[in-house]
Amino acid sequence: MKNIEFSEETLKTIREIINRYPEGKHKSALIPILHIAQSEFEGWLSPEAMSYVAEILNIEPVEVFEVASFYSMFNLKPVGKCVIEVCHTSSCWLMGAEDVINHIGKRLGIKPGQTTSDGLFTLKTVECLGSCGTAPMLMVGADFYENLTLEKVDTLIDACKSSGKSSSYLVDKMLG
C-alpha cells in the first residue's frame, strides 16, 4: 500500500478544482477528487483514502463513503493492475458481449467482479458506455476497445500481461 498522501503538485490541481465552485460549495469537488484518489492509490478507495479526502474537503468520512458507494466507477475493494470493464447492455449484448465476457472469464479463470490471484486482472461488467455503434466494446483505464472479436480480446490481454499496461495509466490522464 502506497502512502495515502497526495503530492504537492496533485494538491495544487485539487485546489484549482475546489476554486471553481462558489464559496461554501466546495463539496462539489468530491467526485473529481475521488477519481484522482482512486487513480493515485492503486485503483481503489480504501477507508484511509476516503478519510484523507474527507479531511481535505473538511467533511465527515461517512459523507465520502456515501458518495463513493453510489457510483459504479469507484472501487471499494482492491482491484487488479489491469481492470477490464466489458459493456453488457443492449447493443453490446445484441452483438455478442456475452461471448466476450465468457471468453475473458475462461482465459483468466475468474468471474465478473473477481481479480486473478496474481493480482494482474480484474474483470468487471459495466452498463452501456456510449459506444454502441462499435459494439461489442470494453474499456481499460480511459481507453475504449471497440468492434471486439475474441482474437482482439486475446491480443489485448497478452499486451496487458507483457507490457504491464495498467489502468493506473488513467493517472496521467486524470491529472492532465
Binding site: S28, Y71, M73, T89, G105, E127, G130, C132, A135, L170
Partner: protein, 447 residues
Amino acid sequence: MGKKLLLQNIDVPGINTYEVYRKTGGYKSVEKVLEQKNPDAIVEEVKKSGLRGRGGAGFPTGMKWSFLAKPEGVARYLVCNADESEPGTFKDRYLMEKIPHLLIEGMITSSYALGANTSFIYIRGEYFYVLRILEKAIKEAYENGWLGKNIKGSGYNLDLYVQVGAGAYICGEETALLESLEGKRGNPRIKPPFPAVAGLYGCPTVVNNVETIAAVVPIVNDGGDAYAAVGVERSTGTKLISASGHINKPGVYEIEMGVPVEEFIYSDEYCGGIKNGKKLKAVVAGGSSVPILPADLILKTAAGNPRLMTYESLADGGFATGTMLGSGGFIVMDETTSIVKNLWNFSRFYHHESCGQCSPCREGTGWMEKILHKILHGHGTIKDIDLLWDIQSKIEGKTICPLGDAAAWPVASAIRHFRKEFEEYVNNPESIQDVKHYFNVHNVAEA
C-alpha cells in the same frame, strides 16, 4: 442528402481545433449576440425555432428558457447534460469528440441568453478521454477571448467548467445530475421546485442536453424561422440518431426530421439495411427506455401510413401501437433476436440503475428482472407473464423520477407485441437453445 445544421463540417480535417473551427465560421453566434446585446431576443429566436430538448423528453427549449426565474442579485446557471447513459445513445460523445467547439460556442451563446456567468458541462466519468478533449477546447476558447472576463470587450463574463461523473445512469436525470454536481449521491429531487426556480446550489438553473445546446448555434446564426423551416410539424430542425444493433452501417447520423423510418433503416445513406441479409424483427427507436416495436409497426403506423422519424409520427398510436423518439438511440434487432433475452437484459439494467428512493422502482425492477430470469431459464409459468404485466403497470407514474416509467415501458411493450414468444419460453423451453445458465448476471462483488 438531407440538410445538416450541426455536422456539416464534421469531415473538415482539423475541425476539432480552434483555428479550423473558427475558419469555418465558428463563434459567429457569440459575436452576433454580444453585438446585439439583447438576451431576450435570443430566447425569442429559440422559441420561434421550435427546438425541443434532445435529451429525451422533447420539451420545447425556448419555453424552458423563459421559465428561468431571475431574482435580483442571485446567480443563474446553465448546466449541459453530457451524461449520455441511455443505452443505445452515443451521439453526444460523437459531437463532443469530433467538434468540441460547437458545444462550447453553444454554451457561451446560451449562457449569455440566460444571464449565467458560470456554466458547467456535466460529463459521465466513462467519457474520460472526451473530457480531456473538451478541456483542451475550453482552454483554446479562453486563450482566444471567448471565455473569461469581459468577453470581446462586451462586459460579459463567463466561466465554463467540465464536471466529471462517476458511473450512474440516474445522473442523466436532471435533478440527480444537479445533486451529483453538488458532490452528493445521484438521488433525483422531488419536483417542484423545478430547476428553473431552485436548481444548482438552490439557484435558478437550466439543464439542457449537448445536442440541444449545439442547435442554438445555427438558430442564432440563421434565425429561428430558418431552423423551423427544416423538418415537419412540431418536429423542427435536424436530429442526431445513434444507430446500432444488427445493421450494416452503425453510427451517428444527422437526419432532417421527417425521414421515413424505412428509408433510415434500408437506404445506404443511413443504416444500409439489416446485417447479413437477415430480416428486421424489431426496433427500439429512442434509447432503451422507449417501447419496442415489431417490424410492421415501426415501418408503418397502425393506420398504414409510413412511419417517419419525428416526435409525432413515432408516437402515433400511443403506447398501443407507437413509441417515442426519445434520445434518438435507434437499436435494430434482426429475426434471430430473442425478445425475452433482450428484455431480461434491459430489466437487469434498470434494476442495477434504480437509485432506490421509491419502493415501486426499487422493488419492482428487481422483481421483474427475477421473473424474466426465471422465464428465460425455462422455469416460468403463464402466470409469471401476467405477473410481469401487473408489476410494470404498478410502477408507471408512481415514482419520483421517470426511471420507473423507463423500466416499465420496455416490459409492457415486449409483452404487448411479443407475448407469443414469452409463452413459447414457458410452454416449450427445450426448443429454445438460449436456455442455459448465464454466469455474468452481475458482478460477483455486487451480488
